[in-house]
Amino acid sequence: MTIRYTFGGDEHLFVECNEEMSLEAFFTSLSMAKGVRESGIKGVTEICPANASFQIKFNPDIIHPDDILKEVKAIEGAAARAEPILKTRIVEIPVFYNDPWTHETLMRFRERHQDPAGTDLDYAARINDYGSVEDFVGAHSGSPWFVSMVGFVAGLPFMYQMVERKRQIQVPKYLRPRTDTPKLTVGHGGCFGCIYSVRGAGGYQMFGITPMPIFDPTQTTSYLRDFMVFFRPGDIVKFKPIDRDAYDQAVEDVEKGRFAPPIREVNFDLGEFQKDMDGTNARLEGMLHGH
């Protein structure tokens, strides 16, 4: 893959590892971003990794753009040789699919959708060749997802489905973005899943809602006391379908500080995953359930 370098004005260097999304491109971007951090290039103020690219903010009063470009390019080779292995964690996230709140919202913005006659779930199931919404939900929650970027708004994870490309769910974004999306909506656009961390505008299709907060500026949620943002790139997510009663119970548990998402430390090896996706996923899920 050819890495493309371009400047975002006089304060940003933008590095595209690949035009196309893949876990290989993600790992190249992650290891280059890590390489830049570790090399301590003077004048670098922020490093933001994305799905298949990353961005460096720098102070041109300290380092000339030509010089930072030279120093970052020098890291390319070492990053390409880095083993795509990650010490990370897997978390199980409950999802109430086809919930009343995203349903109310998607009906309110129906004229902005490709298929005004149905729901986002009906539409996604149909264009991805699933016979029913139940089958679609089964696929959505049946394999894990890889957090390949955190951002857009505070703490929002972009998630890449860990199955062969031909099995990946793909949907277009709304024709025109909505001005409203319920907080904690589980959405999908292009090949990426997401969880809307806060209420606001959005263009992804809406499939359900999770009771689990992932951004808490008050830092009172039990598992967000150390830091207000839950996700980091490289996290692995498994969705667990729940019904209304389980959702209400989880919301109450969150409010009372009793909610604790199952989280396990895991190693992820891209080579192993590519050789045997289903086997790797089964091992990861096994860790989640204590096997």
């Binding site: 933008f14 196309e20 999304m21 961005q55």
Partner: protein, 323 residues
């Protein structure tokens, strides 16, 4: 010392020079849209440049003071009044205990910065007092001000009353406004003809212009270079695999209306970008009103760095004059 908010204006927020360091998690730098104006207002009343002040857009707030304080209003031309008596802009004036600060109609520009001696003393969140309303973070309870709010103010001095910023140091957008742009990022996605049109056309600031982004209308639609869309990007030719967005970057969803991301930017997304407004011109954007005719001016990196140096020199002159 406190300030009682009697009326919030249109959208008035606590802002300082922002919270760098969290953009990789989707939390933008925030802070005053017009950094130079906020620095000047603070220096005028004897504060550190990075103290928190108020930023008000289009309509000023109505504020009652519980103790004597020095106040300076910079940025847009929106005359301040103390108990109805007009006060000069870009100048430190005194507000006595019990007096009320109000504002006349906006004459030019879009945003005023209001600094108060001692600074607005709300708690810091991630190292800054700036308000990030979408994340309910920082500022006064994470939101724009509302009538009835009581703002804590730090301990300040009244020593610099009457200090003023020379007219030639103040910076205002030209008419039409000119924003210098370094082409790049996904510039290669549009045809050569569209690349020329983008800089040749006159654009107008649209109504959707806020701290997150400024939208523009009126130029010709951009045509894309044909390609098979890369996997994961989405089917529209303006889509890319979701990437980071630089501050000041110009995305053009569907090739129709450019949006410049500003201080409260979303940190990334799936629309291609044609380039980035240079750092020296970011302050100007926050002073553009809807319908302002605007030209994008193509510059090189060299010119961007020279313009940045010029702004640095301007800031040095400001500091020399006020400290």
């Amino acid at each position: 010392m406190a300030i009682k908010v009697l009326h919030h204006g249109l959208a008035t927020t606590v802002q300082d020079l922002g919270r760098p360091g969290y953009f990789h998690l989707g939390i933008p730098v925030g802070g005053a849209m017009d950094r130079f104006a906020m620095r000047a207002a603070n220096l005028l009343v004897g504060n550190d440049e990075g103290a928190a002040g108020l930023e008000a857009v289009f309509i000023g707030p109505k504020l009652e003071f519980t103790e004597d304080a020095l106040v300076a209003v910079t940025g847009a031309d929106m005359p301040a009044k103390v108990d109805g008596v007009p006060q000069p802009g870009w100048t430190a004036f005194k507000v006595k205990s019990g007096q009320t600060l109000t504002f006349d109609f906006l004459k030019s520009g879009a945003r005023i910065c209001i600094a108060v001696s001692g600074g607005i003393d709300v708690p810091e969140a991630l190292g800054s007092r700036s308000t990030y309303p979408i994340g309910a973070l920082g500022g006064y309870k994470g939101r724009p001000l509302a009538a009835g709010d009581v703002l804590p103010v730090g301990k300040g001095s009244l020593a610099s009353e009457g200090k003023t910023v020379d007219e030639d140091l103040r910076r205002k957008p030209d008419m039409p406004a000119e924003l210098r742009v370094l082409p790049g990022l996904y510039w290669h996605r549009v045809t050569e003809e569209s690349q020329e049109n983008f800089f040749a056309d006159e654009w107008k600031v649209a109504n959707e212009a806020d701290r997150m982004g400024y939208r523009f209308k009126g130029g010709r639609t951009l045509d894309f270079v044909d390609r098979e869309q890369p996997f994961g990007a989405g089917s529209d030719p303006s889509n890319i695999v979701d990437s980071c967005y630089p501050y000041g970057s110009i995305q053009v969803p569907g090739g129709t209306e450019p949006i410049i991301l500003h201080r409260d930017a979303v940190s990334g997304g799936g629309y291609f970008m044609v380039g980035t407004v240079i750092s020296a011109d970011m302050d100007l954007i926050g002073q553009l009103q809807p319908h302002t005719p605007t030209r994008f001016v193509k510059v090189t990196m060299e010119a961007a760095l020279a313009a940045r140096e010029e702004r640095r020199a301007g800031l040095a002159r400001l500091r020399e004059a006020l400290t």
